[in-house]
Amino acid sequence: MKSKSVVILCVFLAALLVVGITSAAQGEKAYELIDWNKPLPMTERLLADQYVLPEGWQEATKGVKELVFFNSGALTHDIATAIGMELFEQKTGIHVKALEVGSAYTFPKFLSVVTSKDPSVHIGFIRAEVEYAHVASAGWAHPIDELWTPEVQALYSPGLVDCIRWDDHFYGSVNIVQWYVFYYRPSWLEAAGVKKVPETWEEVWEAAKKCREWAKENLGPDYYGLTFGATKAGHIHIAMLSALTYSQGGRTLKEGKFNLDTPEFRESWSYLVNSIKEDIADVACLGYSWSDYQKVFGMGKAAMMLGYSVYAVKFPTDFPEMAGDWAAVAPPKWDATHPDSHRIGYINYDEYVINNFADDRHKAAAMLFLDFYRSKEACMYELLVEGNDSFLPAVYDDPNIVDKVDWDLAKAVAERIGASEPVKAGTTIPEVRAASAKTARMEALPPGAAYVSDILSEYLGKSVIEGMDADEALSEALSKIVQYTH
């Protein structure tokens, strides 16, 4: 009887042990099986001409056949993304499926996924400055600190790395980067009697004024000195206000909180409002989206703009009427009293985040995709095939980068997605871009940023359309913002 009891007890304990070990094994998350620093240190894997997969990825992603993500707009316009998807599939066998969603609805779609805890879409596409912090703090994005070791952070643009750190954690990685550069039309400046290319916003003002007067008389009433976008859609007005603030050495954030009631921000606000009120810029700027105002410049209806570096590639092909009458320099500083280090560009930056409700194996696959997409191999396609900027500054430093691109693959993908055939060429305006990569900045605004953006947009309109004094309008806007954010 006694021996029988012991046997039963032993069987029970053995069973308990097996269950315990199995649970412990299952306790290790699939993505923890990946050793990001093997077979090479992570920095070396990322800097290799051809991306090197980390050890343990196969076991971590076992059974994963497909990764699904939201793409902002049609894939036809994102050839580098399509190439990245193809290369990733070639390397891992995991198919990447892009759900093409209009840019205005990409975030609402992702929001629907995470609020319903839907695990079927694994990667979300979000705007870094307004949506990122909210997504991270709501617990909708999976933290990926293991991908962002200090050594890896040092490889990338400091301005960008700052944008993906929230609450001392990393939740995102790059999808697209475009530095802002300053474009002007040399023939207009010459015709209007502007002696030198503006280097400060003060000089831009004077030059724009002269250009407007000349253009109004010689070209027509709808030709302006300066153009910019200030619509709420895409929070494009935040970009312009921030760029002007940075040019004075100011910041829109302080210790993670809004810092808008500053002399720098007030000056920026007045600059924007008065440029329209004093007829230097068209009132239509209030409704221009990011593409509208750059199109306006491309169509030759404005003398100057602060725009995306990618337009340096687009002007010759999409706007032949410009006939090469454009040039680009680093963004202006505020005035001559400021150091050149204040010639800081803003960044158009969209991020990938991983759906926190996806299962662990898909999270592992998604992390792998994000890791690949920030590598030199993926970044060179963004820079040379699509004309965007490189997230990884090292790509600008490689003199043989053009020959490292698989142009046959690029052409094949272009044909498949219906994009125009890529042309084998070097980087356009390389010096301006490389310099911007080191200095460009953007701040990931805290939760509630969309409301702040909305209020600023409303009062910008009130000041321009309803004639409200610029400073008074800003003060009223700021008091509303304070009520909401505190």
């Binding site: 929001l111 709808d222 239509a284 409704g287 199109k295 947009s457 309109g461 321009v464 359309i465 309803e466």
Partner: protein
């Protein structure tokens, strides 16, 4: 076992009632519940009583938003009704090529509202839209036409875009009503010496008024909660929010500010307004019986 007719009817309605429960009652109850929570994705979620309602109704912009909503809904419906009536009467008279013209009238219906907004946004674009360009070429205006800088014109623009998409529906309903009128009535009116205006006022209109009224109420309800056209044409409600309506307000709180509690309370308020219009529709529908 013999089942009474009323019980049999009740049993047969169970699947329908279940659908109603799943599709209407549960989501609405959840929405109602959300409207009493502080759910802003910034702070922890807690029960907040009527705070969200107070916030919406106490918002200094709310009276203006409501006014704009009414102007938009009634403006769009009015534009739709007048245009549909004209089109329906014309189509009723056309004999040759009637199928072609009817198909043509229905075409905007195939365009999603959101696309209708993008289409009209491009048409009215001050820098590269054809309307401004044509007006300037015809020397009707010396400066580019920018409807967005004038709040009234911006509102008129979104009313045209919204109405354009709704006209086919009301035209078809009115046309069906017109075609159901016996030709003998027209003949009789003509024998009595009635001219075209008399026939329109005393024969056609009274007989087409019921389908027209029902169509109008449906259009009004849809316009009242419309956002697609407004959002795509004037993102964020246009310059200085001149086209910011209740639908846009709730969309912003939901998808932009991620404040689900306030969005839910704005939704409940919108539902109450829509139900008020809907009850008129139900009243007229039941009255017909």
């Amino acid at each position: 076992m013999k089942i009474s007719d009323s019980r049999y009817g009740t049993i047969l309605s169970i699947p329908g009632l279940m659908l109603l429960l799943v599709w209407v009652l549960i989501p609405f109850s959840y929405l109602f519940y959300l409207s009493f929570l502080r759910y802003d994705n910034i702070n922890p979620v807690i029960f907040s009583g009527f705070a969200n309602y107070e916030r919406v109704l106490g918002d200094s912009a709310f009276p203006l938003i409501l006014t704009r909503t009414f102007i938009f809904a009634f403006g769009s419906t009015g534009f739709t009704v007048v245009t549909s009536l004209i089109l329906a009467f014309c189509l009723n008279r056309i004999v040759k090529g009637s199928t072609f013209f009817r198909s043509l009238v229905i075409m905007p219906w195939a365009v999603p509202l959101i696309l209708s907004g993008f289409l009209w946004a491009w048409m009215f674009h001050p820098s590269f839209g054809p309307i401004s360009d044509i007006l300037m070429k015809l020397k009707l205006t010396s400066e580019p036409l920018n409807i967005y800088k004038n709040p009234n014109m911006a509102m008129a623009g979104i009313i045209i875009a919204d109405g354009w998409r709704r006209i086919p529906f009301l035209t078809i309903i009115t046309l069906a009503g017109l075609q159901s009128i016996s030709p003998e009535l027209y003949d009789a009116a003509k024998v009595d010496g009635a001219d075209s205006f008399h026939i329109f006022g005393y024969v056609s209109m009274p007989l087409v008024s019921r389908p027209l009224l029902i169509g109008t109420l449906i259009t009004l309800m849809f316009s009242f909660r419309s956002i697609d056209v407004i959002y795509s044409m004037t993102p964020g409600g246009g310059y200085a929010k001149s086209t910011y309506v209740l639908g846009a307000y709730l969309f912003d709180y939901m998808y932009e500010f991620l404040n689900f509690g306030v969005a839910a309370s704005a939704s409940v308020i919108l539902i109450i307004f829509t139900l008020a219009i809907g009850s008129v529709f139900i009243y007229y529908t039941l009255k017909k019986r």
